[in-house]
Symmetry: C2
Amino acid sequence: MALIVQKFGGTSVGNIERIQAVADRVLATRAAGHDVVVVVSAMSGETDRLLKLAREIDSQPHPRELDTLLSTGEQVTIALLAMALHRKGQAAVSLTGSQVPIETDSAHNKARIERIDGTRLRSALAAGQVVIVAGFQGINPHGDITTLGRGGSDTTAVALAAALQADECAIYTDVDGIYTTDPRVESKARRLDRITYEEMLEMASLGAKVLQTRSVEFAMNYRVPVRVLSSFANGPGTLVTSEENCMEAPRVSGIAFSRNEAKITVVAVPDRPGIASAILGPISAANINVDVILQNISEDGKTDFTFTVERNDFERAMGILRDVAHELGAEDVRGDTGIVKVSAVGVGMRSHAGIAASMFAALAQENINIQMISTSEIKISVVIAEKYLELAVRALHGAFGLEKAAS
Amino acid sequence: MALIVQKFGGTSVGNIERIQAVADRVLATRAAGHDVVVVVSAMSGETDRLLKLAREIDSQPHPRELDTLLSTGEQVTIALLAMALHRKGQAAVSLTGSQVPIETDSAHNKARIERIDGTRLRSALAAGQVVIVAGFQGINPHGDITTLGRGGSDTTAVALAAALQADECAIYTDVDGIYTTDPRVESKARRLDRITYEEMLEMASLGAKVLQTRSVEFAMNYRVPVRVLSSFANGPGTLVTSEENCMEAPRVSGIAFSRNEAKITVVAVPDRPGIASAILGPISAANINVDVILQNISEDGKTDFTFTVERNDFERAMGILRDVAHELGAEDVRGDTGIVKVSAVGVGMRSHAGIAASMFAALAQENINIQMISTSEIKISVVIAEKYLELAVRALHGAFGLEKAAS
């Protein structure tokens, strides 16, 4: 007998029929002899409906009151799921974030979980009840309702699994696991049986939106085994776990990519100490994240300084830089939104040499020009023209043999 | 400077525009120098929407979970109203039933308020905040969310006013006060400046649906001055208060009526001790309320036994009685849904003789046949054929001079 935390997102509880299906899945887990804690999100569309009401009043709604408003979305779902389980003969009890309690800091709209008191949960489980917890929400030291920010239900599930020392945290989504790359781009993409926390973090931050980055960090810190599975089909999914549990890590586990990229070049800026900070300081002050950075070799005391930002921050960043470039005596500021980032991710890179060389060779063979390169211990990213995205992903997927299961 | 509790029902907060109007009304009260606690219901339609979701799962939803579900309706409104006040520059804080806390018993779906801790409310008021409380909900000793049943927001408002020793509890509705009778029936109906708790209770139980009966009982027990006013117009409304504050009580304050009546006669039942209990016992066991009761004088050891029930209980009551009547050896059971009850209400009756005589004379003059009579200390009711309803109401309104302000 194990203790399983199961999390179902908004699409999985999007209507009464789907809530009934979730109840059946919980019953099946109970029938297999396990204790179950369920975490649910708001029914799909509900959070947007509530946000729309708030924004009719104030484009920047009062943060405390916004949390009080939005938290009702999950509260509706927990009550409906508990009713469905009762109707099917299974004792169940719903708990809001404040009833658990899930204690957070006071950063409304993006609170961090500080402590979970598992007493009430454990006694409910001991009494044979399925416990249904509202995701995404908690309570601060003043008794105010807080929310963890979008996608926070994943974090709630992982944090509960950590607090209860659950055997597994199962995240049900609309995909049946983590793939070697996006199957819509490369039909040979293959579901991974296992992936390490570190790889999952890189994949998530690179645009594979299956798991919230913060929930993966949490799982990694507390060593919670997380399984990503489909709400709508059966299958083993993908287990996200520590490296020790991924016995034969392949060199590369997956090819991730992001279209949400734009490139900015400050042309022929005088090359002197402090130039990078003079350019990037105002960008960072405007809360714009900079990703890949490249500074060309200086010629005649002038250099080109290039970096990437998220595409929806592009116009803002260009506006800021036109002023900055003028002050710095740069010749021009050029922008390009026609670029993407493609990355090879794998903890096996640490112990295998030559991954970068293989990657560049595969791209060269397809005549794909690499504009920028960025590496980390378990990831190599290249910035290329957007038109080459599919070609590059397929070339790399093939070059690292990802269509075949790891040997 | 006074402390005013203001309660706004579902229609008054039915959309964002109306919530803004409520915010303006609160601001005006603040501008007049008063402290304000606001109690709001769910936006109109919201409770029905949630109930419909629950009933798609279970026609008899689990009571604890139903309360968790329904309480979200008011939670949405308090957050939106608090945002609107903040937007208009007024400090405000929303509190759910559990945040106040409003402590109730554990009777889910029809809980009773047991205690209100006013500490948090008082400190928020002292800090210059408007406090917005979710109506209709509370928390039981186990920390479970409870609801007070439909219309419970009135009770929340009155209970808060009692706990905080507020100077007045203002109930904003879609009418501008309590009238001498329904203006749709008698255009000469007049708004009353004052009415006693006792009269209001009789009016409410007779079908004048402006205030929940339980909230009036609560106000009477704790001597809370309640003012009924319109959300959509300005005006003094009607003050519901104790008899001492209604200096010159008129003999009759109003004419109430109810169409929700049906009459049942058990014909020629053997007249022996215990017959009333034999007939009414099974009715009461089926949770059907019996109102006016009439037992004819016995002839030949047989009697007719007549009583009224609410019209929507009529079919059920008839079904039960057909069996009972057979066992008791009665000749027949006859039903009539074409009747109504018309009542004259007034605390002045206590000290004025002859009210009943005036009432019967006024009806006789219009040739209206009285089928049953029921009296209490401050009320005389008659059961008549439904077709005479308007005629009877107008005749009595005129006979007691209600079109003129009390002298």
